[in-house]
């Protein structure tokens, strides 16, 4: 008997509708309503790898492009290795406002939540 399983969706980076709304708001305030959201990682931070969010005019040539909720996200290939499967959320709860990375690759996260290790 062969058991059929649903194919796993490809790993990607997703952005919640609420986070997308706030990105659009920031982009409009910055006078760049059509900006691309660069999502990435850089070395540093207590745990070794720090999340990066930036507004750029256009993606880089070798970037991976993701379109969701009317937004264009770009991520460089090396950062993507550490971010695949991540959901970008926006929190405005009692613990503070801001974007949050829910990254399944992160083994540890520093106290302030801005850096992680794999």
């Amino acid at each position: 008997m062969t058991q059929q399983t649903a194919p796993r969706p490809p790993l990607t980076i997703t952005i919640s509708e609420k986070a997308a709304h706030h990105v659009r708001k920031f982009a409009e305030q910055a006078g760049k309503p059509n900006a691309t959201l660069r999502v990435g990682v850089k070395g540093g931070g207590c745990s070794g790898l720090t999340y990066v969010l930036d507004m750029v005019d256009a993606p880089g040539e070798s970037d991976k492009i993701i379109k969701e909720h009317g937004l264009t996200l770009c991520v460089d290939k090396k950062s993507y290795v550490f971010l695949a499967g991540t959901t970008l959320e926006y929190s405005d709860g009692l613990n503070g406002k801001g974007f949050e990375f829910h990254n399944p690759n992160a083994k540890t996260t520093c106290g302030c939540g801005t850096s992680f290790s794999v």
Binding site: K42, G43, G44, C46, G48, L49, D76, K78, T108, G111
Partner: protein
């Protein structure tokens, strides 16, 4: 430590005297040398290591600890800012490890790392009189030569990095014309151990954190995050450092090797990591001892069951 000949002892005494009271000339070409290029190189090193590097001026050099995300020592580096690039000194065993570590943490930054250890040589002039020596003898180094202050042995010192083909001529000139006494590995090792300067594979490595090793002077507690910062800050704030690097001294004419247990009142309180002999015959050592074992404490070093009396000394 084998028994040295009388001539070797005389030479050792002369070299030790230069290192501790005069000016000595050393060949430190075994140390790793990496050339960092790219506009983001200094910022990246600042994010990955303990010391404040962002304000490093051209011609200046500063030591820093490359730390893991667990706050452990990957290596101690000396970062020398030159015109258009950084020259980074590593331990002899680690240039490749450091280059790979940097590569892992380089994403979109403009940073290129080249291992120039084999293509260059490094001489050092060090000792209490080194500043006066430099005022008289230091000249414009010319092209392809890096000269920077490097107090690596706990005394004023200067490092000179040259293309390897120019090493012999430079050594000849500095040893013949400037009054700096050539010193060999044995004398340097004696001074290193006596002054408590840690080296990779003995006192430095990922089994230790920089607070245990006494590297506080090259840790910035105000610059913000670097890899491992949270662990280092927590250890410091909550006084959780469990051991420290201590200096030992003994008078017995005995062969003492690293790895020996350090014993206090019959209980093991630490492990010897380095041992050397001074020209006067005294033995000196370095070892990690438990927190609370104070300087001046009379301890023993356990040599295969034979206890050698020693005491913990200020470094």
């Amino acid at each position: 430590m084998s028994s040295p000949s009388r001539a070797a002892l005389a030479s050792l005494a002369q070299e030790y005297e230069a290192l501790t009271h005069g000016v000595a000339l050393l060949d430190r070409s075994r140390a790793g040398r990496l050339r960092f290029q790219g506009k983001d190189a200094l910022d990246l090193l600042n994010r990955l290591s303990t010391n404040q590097l962002n304000d490093l001026a051209s011609g200046e050099a500063r030591a820093t600890v490359l730390t893991s995300n667990k706050g452990r020592i990957v290596d101690v580096l000396t970062v020398a800012r030159q015109d258009g690039h950084l020259l980074v000194l590593t331990s002899p065993e680690t240039p490749r490890k450091v280059a790979e570590y940097i590569d892992f943490y380089t994403f979109s930054e403009d940073v290129r790392v080249e291992d120039i250890t084999g293509a260059t040589a490094m001489l050092s002039v060090t000792g209490p009189q080194a500043e006066a020596w430099a005022a008289t003898h230091m000249v414009n180094p010319g092209t392809d030569v890096a000269v920077f202050r490097d107090d690596f042995l706990g005394a004023p010192g200067y490092a000179v990095v040259v293309p390897v083909a120019r090493r012999d001529a430079l050594w000849e000139r500095l040893s013949r014309d400037t009054g700096a006494t050539p010193a060999g590995e044995e004398a340097v090792e004696a001074v290193r151990v006596e002054r408590g300067v840690p080296v990779y594979g003995r006192e430095l490595g990922e089994e230790y954190n920089p607070l245990e090793t006494g590297l506080r002077p090259i840790i910035s507690f105000t610059k913000g995050c670097y890899v491992g910062q949270e662990v280092v800050a927590r250890l410091d704030t909550y006084k959780k450092v469990q051991r420290r690097l201590a200096g030992l001294r003994w008078e017995a004419d005995a062969r003492v090797d690293a790895g020996a247990d350090i014993v206090l009142d019959g209980e093991g309180v630490g492990v010897l990591t380095s041992a050397a002999r001074l020209p006067d015959g005294a033995g000196v050592g370095l070892g990690y001892v438990k927190r609370g074992v104070a300087e001046g404490a009379g301890v023993s070093v356990d040599i295969l069951g034979k206890l050698i009396q020693a005491r913990l000394v200020e470094m």
